[in-house]
Amino acid sequence: MRLHVRHQTSYRCDSPVGAAIQTLRLTPRSYEGLRVVQWQVWSDTHRELPIFADGYGNLTHCHAVNHPHATALVFVEGEVDTATTHGIVRGAPEPLPPLFFLRPTKLTQPDPAVAALARQVAPQGSVLKQLHALLIAVREKLDYLPGATDVAAAAGEALAAGAGVCHDHAHVFIAASRLLGIPARYIGGYLWTGTESREYQASHAWAEAFVHDLGWVGFDPANRMCPTEAYIRTSVGLDYWSAAPVRGVRRGTAAETLAVAVNVIQAGGDQ
């Protein structure tokens, strides 16, 4: 399936900020389930942003504006060919070994509620069965509710709130998975939802877990399914902080309004 992505972020501040800088992990890398046809990231001030591969292998752009400004625009546009791999991720750059992804972080620190969730799915025979049970269990315990948590909510906090968004589902899944001794990681990316309407869900987050014999396998607890050809993975990390699609720092105290428009459409199709 050929997917076309257009993603525009506009920042508007109530008074000029002196300087702002962002790290952008918004560029997919090819693997068996995805081939990058073309991809570009730029801004209103920079036709080309400097890029490097970070420690996880993420293609990372850096956008810096070092003069006073009240608005900024960042654009992402690209096309990829995707194929269904039943969630299995093969052929992606893997600089870090699976064992590393058992390391707990602040956001994926298990608490008693996460531990209970892990215990609930532990009796399932195989690792794969445990993970599929976890996929459903996480979503059962955690309603989908935009704005329910802060971006930086830890797995336990989200579970206690009983609601969250995709990154909360991912964090809970990862925390429980690691408790079961299964390496797990956070994935940021885009999702084709099959409609042309402006859909905030087009920016998405899910998890991957390591299964012997299969390798890394994607799990999207927010949608209770393994990733399909509708998924475009752009970043990998231990948790939201290391895989954040956009992370920024700005100087000054001005209040910022963010407008994000993400469009993922099937190229050449009617949809």
């Binding site: 790290t23 420690g55 070092n66 070994p97 064992l99 920024g248």
Partner: protein, 480 residues
């Protein structure tokens, strides 16, 4: 200064570096004679003079967890600690070897991890350690160097037994004391220097600058511009930061003085922005860049890591060097030396028990009154137990801590640190010492002869940390 040189007295008599009154070791004969011919009042006069000198220079060390006089003077002892040329040759050869292995280990753990594959270091110990920074994976620092300034803490247990107590691969401090101690000694006792051939240490800042320039990024054109990055004047080592910047003739900057554009680092100056090629940073990894590490850091420079990772600036020491000096990794350094260099270690290691391992924890709990127990990630001699000197209550309390979080602690036998003659209120008496030499790694390895000798001023005490009432001495390496 962060460092823990702990340790303590043991049943065996410690090695005294001067020797006995009847049998003075050759390198101390000049000192012995000087002490014999100098009346006690003259020595106390010199001690007061030394104190005034240091107050005037303004070297102070901010001590945490103590009220009152925050900027306290570290006591200086006027009797130098003396090593002869052969001793120093052994030590410096051992240091070079060790620091080469530590850098090789750092390169390996951030690339192919051969040492883990070879089964020599448990993979979890590295990969699940906070000191291991995934951000550094597959990054190639200039000249392959990660730790450019290493402070290796040594204790001496016998005439030829120099043992490493711990490695400091991140931002070791204390070198300004080494330099100022020498300066003060030369002013106080010119005659004593006239009678000895003491190797100079005054070229350290020059060596440091050349080391830093030698690791400029490959794309640096012309003379590399070096800056020293400090957390600011409230940092306990700020004196040293400004002192070294001054001595090297480079700018001292805070995070706010730098900015990043197109993954290139610039320094704000009155003449406009200037590109910076090498940053001697004295800010910890966690705080150096809020865009990549702790987002709440206000002392770092956002984007600095991106510039580093893009190969446009060198950070010295490199990010992620802490995995090499972690106390749980320390026990594997001899294995690193054999694995990477194919050599036998020249400097000894202390037997170290990792309390996170079941059998080792059992041993530690059983022998708690004989051991020194430290936090695996602590520094400065805080939170440490010295078994032989602890009360029964302290032992019981520590045993409880060990059972709760065993992986946070390591234990070592209590060592008989060597002693050196030291001026104390009752006259001259032996006191335990350690040594922190500073190893500079750039295109080549350089070590100024000597280092910082720390001395535990309390009788019988083995804790030489300045935060725990330790003092310092000038360290002499005699030339042949």
């Amino acid at each position: 200064m962060s460092l823990t040189a702990a340790e303590t007295r043991s049943a065996a008599l410690p090695f005294d570096e001067m020797g006995t009154a009847e049998n003075c070791r050759p390198q101390y004969q000049g000192i012995q004679q000087w002490l014999a011919e100098t009346p006690a009042e003259a020595l106390s006069l010199k001690r007061r003079e030394a104190e005034l000198l240091f107050r005037r220079i303004g070297i102070t060390f901010a001590v945490y967890s103590e009220g009152g006089d925050l900027e306290r003077l570290i006591p200086f002892d006027i009797i130098p600690r003396v090593l002869d040329a052969a001793e120093w040759e052994l030590v410096s050869r051992g240091l070079r070897q060790r620091v080469r292995a530590l850098n090789a280990f750092l390169h390996d753990v951030y690339h192919g991890r051969q040492i883990l594959r070879a089964g020599l270091v448990p993979p979890e110990l590295v990969l699940h350690n906070e000191g291991f920074r995934p951000e550094m994976q597959d990054f190639e620092p200039a000249q392959g160097v990660y730790t450019h300034v290493a402070g290796i803490d040594l204790v001496r247990l016998g005439p030829r037994d120099f043992t490493v107590l711990e490695d400091n691969c991140r931002t070791p401090s204390g070198v300004s004391y080494m330099l100022e101690n020498r300066e003060a000694m030369m002013r106080l006792f010119p005659d004593l220097f006239a009678r000895h051939r003491v190797a100079s240490v005054s070229h350290y800042p020059e060596d440091l600058l050349e080391t830093l320039q030698s690791v400029a990024p490959a794309n640096c054109a012309g003379e590399p511009r070096v800056a020293l990055l400090t957390p600011g004047s409230y940092n306990s080592a700020y004196y040293e930061h400004s002192f070294l910047a001054d001595e090297m003739g480079v700018e001292i900057v805070e995070g706010i003085d730098l900015f990043v554009d197109d993954n290139i680092v610039y320094m704000r100056t009155t003449e406009g922005p200037k590109r910076v090629d090498v940053i001697y940073r004295r800010i910890d990894d966690d705080f150096i860049d809020p865009l990549t590490f702790r987002p709440d850091s206000v002392i770092g420079t956002p984007g600095l890591f991106n510039a580093y990772r893009s190969g446009n600036v060198t950070l010295a020491n490199g990010i992620g060097a802490g995995i090499a000096d972690d106390k749980s990794i320390y026990r594997y350094v001899p294995a690193m030396i054999r694995f990477y260099l194919g050599e036998e270690p020249i400097l000894n290691n202390v037997r170290t028990y990792c309390c996170g391992e079941k059998e080792e924890l059992a041993y530690v709990l059983e022998h708690l009154d004989e051991l020194v127990v430290k936090e695996a990630r602590g520094s400065g001699g805080y939170g440490m137990l010295i078994g032989p000197q602890a009360t029964r209550e302290q032992l019981a309390a520590f045993a409880a801590k060990l059972r709760t979080a065993p992986q946070d602690y390591i234990a070592q036998p209590t060592l008989a640190l060597s002693t050196c003659p030291t001026c104390v209120d009752s006259g001259i008496a032996p006191r335990h010492v350690d040594l922190r030499p500073f190893v500079l790694v750039g295109k080549e390895i350089r070590i100024v002869p000597g280092g910082l000798t720390r001395v535990a001023l309390r009788e019988g005490s083995l804790v030489v940390n300045s935060s725990q009432g330790g003092g310092t001495k000038d360290t002499w390496v005699l030339e042949d």
